[in-house]
Symmetry: C2
Subunit: 475 residues, 2 copies
């Protein structure tokens, strides 16, 4: 679909006009529209689906917030902006966007309260099992970035920060029901069934959006600014091939068909620059059954590559480039039901199992000998898995194939437009493109490289708010 910009002089009829035109009605678009509308600006939201939600509504509704929110206090979780900042700088790197993290941390308590005022509900509890690597659904606050695993547990005091939106429906749906309604109550007007295709420009300024509605071209004029909040590009194979080819290895791509990169490309076509387009969120949810964490994950060389007890998103990013991933467990931990997939091999010895898996001769035996020797002392010199999960693996062994062809590796894109934290889209010179703003996964946000569940709803909502306000000229 062409993204070549169109000059306003070529537009013969405007299907709509507003101070601010928001593209996409997910979390970032809803928050941008709400904030713009509350300043008194007129707001149109262009959404290709038939209602609000986007990928946000399909998510678990976790929002990464901290530094001492009311919900954290109610749950007895101790946190500070300093600990949150130190953790995010380490976990979102290498080379994260410090200005975005600073703003995100500094505004976190205020943003939490803003969400409550919008009708979003959190629960001031933590599951005692949340000390582990994952937690059951329905929980109030969770660890979702490896806060309590090596190396982060040594860098900052761990605190549960993922605030799970409560509701009778899935968290993300409840979140978007609340925020979508609020945006409309504030006066923003959604236009459904329109697919934004190109930007309309006038004298070097973005002045609107050309869209497709049931096969017809329709133009929407933005007197003040356009906010692109149309998601990432995990459903655009051509963009993945160019920017983040690893994602092509998995079929479990998270998002909606709207995550086709159109918003990013529309902006690039007017000279906007992109940032960290190779960054991917990549989760390997093998640890829902916690016993698995006491097994070891090995790659095609028969070697471990990560501390198995960390956040599944860190396990996934470590597994991203591995040709193969095998979970090795022993008889004590063998639970064929736990993964929803049968064992790929069982054997009496590591040599035999390694041969069955086609691993290099003797490598699994060497891996296990080294692991077991140290696990018996409660130590993991290579990756510092915590003692709780360290037990020598003995007796008959089983393997589960957890590579992306055999098991869901859940992926979406983290790279996107280079923006100021306040939403201005930057051009190749690093200057704002007049009239153009963006937020959410259309942009490169707080999670530059590493990820924590809840950061996309988190920066999408906060930076969406700022972008919406800025687009009115009153931010």
């Amino acid at each position: 679909m062409s993204v070549r910009p169109v000059d306003a002089s070529e537009v013969t009829e405007w299907a709509g006009e507003a101070d601010v035109v928001v593209v996409g009605f997910g979390v970032a678009g809803a928050c941008a529209a709400y904030e713009a509308a509350t300043t008194g600006a007129s707001v149109l939201i262009l959404e290709r689906a038939g209602g609000p939600g986007g990928a946000s509504a399909l998510s678990d509704g976790m929002i990464y917030l901290g530094g001492g929110t009311g919900t954290q206090a109610a749950a007895g979780v101790t946190d500070s902006p300093e600990a949150m900042r130190a953790f995010l700088l380490a976990a979102c790197g290498p080379a994260p966007d410090e200005s975005k993290i600073d703003l995100y941390v500094g505004r976190s308590v205020e943003h939490h309260d803003w969400l409550l005022a919008r009708g979003v509900r959190f629960l001031g509890t933590v599951d005692p099992l949340s000390a582990g690597p994952s937690a059951a659904r329905g929980e109030g606050l969770m660890f979702t970035g490896g806060e309590n695993a090596w190396p982060f547990d040594e860098l900052a005091a761990p605190a549960q920060r993922a605030h799970v939106t409560q509701g009778t429906r899935q968290g993300g749906a409840a979140l978007m029901a609340a925020l979508g309604a609020e945006a409309e109550r504030a006066g923003a007007e959604p236009v459904y069934g329109v697919r934004a295709e190109r930007l309309i420009t006038e004298d070097g300024r973005v002045r609107g959006v050309l869209a497709d509605r049931y096969g017809q071209r329709v133009a929407f004029r933005a007197a003040g600014g356009v906010v692109l909040a149309s998601g990432g590009f995990v459903f655009n194979d051509e963009m993945l091939s160019s920017y983040a080819p690893a994602a092509l290895r998995t079929r479990t791509r998270l998002g909606t068909e709207g995550d086709d990169g159109q918003g990013i490309r529309m902006a690039q076509a007017v000279g906007a620059r992109v940032k960290r387009m190779d960054s991917l969120e990549w989760a390997l949810p093998f640890n829902m059954a916690r016993g698995n964490v006491s097994g070891i994950l090995v790659n095609a060389l028969g070697r471990r590559f990560v501390n198995e007890d960390t956040y599944m998103g860190r396990v996934g990013q470590a597994a991203m480039h591995e040709e193969a991933v095998h979970l090795i467990v022993d008889e004590a931990r063998y639970d064929p039901a736990a993964l929803g997939t049968p064992a790929s091999a069982v054997a009496e010895s590591a040599d035999e199992l390694g041969a069955e898996l086609g691993l290099p001769a003797g490598s699994l035996t060497a891996t296990l000998a080294y692991y077991n020797e140290h696990a018996a002392q409660g130590e993991d010199p290579l990756f510092r898995k915590r003692p709780r999960w360290l037990t020598p693996l003995t007796g008959p062994l089983a393997a589960f194939a957890l590579g992306p062809r055999h098991f869901p590796h859940c992926v979406f894109t983290l790279g996107g437009l280079d923006t100021l934290p306040t939403g201005e889209v930057l051009d190749q010179d690093g200057d704002p493109v007049p009239g153009l703003y963006a937020a959410g996964r259309t942009t490169s946000g707080v999670a530059a490289r590493g990820y924590c569940s809840g950061l996309s709803l988190g920066d999408g909502s906060l930076f969406g708010r700022l972008a919406g306000r800025r687009a009115t000229g009153k931010g």
Copy 2:
């Protein structure tokens, strides 16, 4: 430096005008200018330095050619287009640009002869040592991509394909002396001391280049087309940080100060799209003293990560993301002079050496036990180093620190503009930007991910020729 395009109507005076304006007088620019000029077109070459050469002149002058060139025949090297194609598809991937590889292989013999006709001299010899991982300077034909190492030796019959330009000066300088003179003889006119900054556009078409000359803005009009051949972006820290941050870890960046990404950014500012911006050539030249190849390279975990006997560019790409790199040799191979750097540690045992290097407890001992056991059988189950270089490492051991802070890791960028093999620069829709062409390291070329020495002069020269011809409208 701003790259915002300028409308031709804003230009009050043209400092020069030609059918084709070429930006950059390295190998791609010289070949583009030559071909354009031989069609009868007028050609200006804008070069920021005081003479031809660019990064090409600083190189060893190796050009990757094959499929049965005359030079290969003279040296008794057997090769075929099929073997060359199979090798490049594997070595330049994953997911290389097949259309570029097909054209590159299909034109290789013709391009070899074209270079000879331009006065470039090759030598029809191979060094007997070229069966090894590297070769001495002054050789005729070399392995430079791991053709004779695992896994490529199993995929295609290995052939030496890097043709080393001969001359009284360094190969690259000799190459550029020949090609620069030929371009001028053909009628192309170089303009030195001008730094291209922005593209000039007219009615959606590229019509020229705005440049800086001694602090003055000067405009050059291109009636037919502009060819960007201004190198990569290894000297632009901001671009590296956004697109290829690993490169910031080394100080040994190969190129000239002209490799500042300006050409790429100028094109992006008119909506051109880029491809594989995270790809890096990354060489770790530890194997010039061949004895080192019998040692092992281990990372911060004390584990091997590559077959030490492959091309130093593949060793480097494997080392790129390693926190640390140590070469471990035993007494028989201990030659403190070989690397030009003293040993970082010596010890009587692997345990002791590992402790001195700060490696995880027992990991180096485990690595060596596994390596030695199999090396004694002439086998390397993990990485298939060839038997010739496999010897158990025994007795007192020494380590050399080869991480990027201690040893030169030689890097340049491989990502760039997305072009057709014939040089048309593509926009976000995948359509050619009217009037804009590019070649060389301003583009993503034959080496999509993996690299072989000689591919940059190779695709820069061949695709430079095609781009120059295409820019005249006669290609």
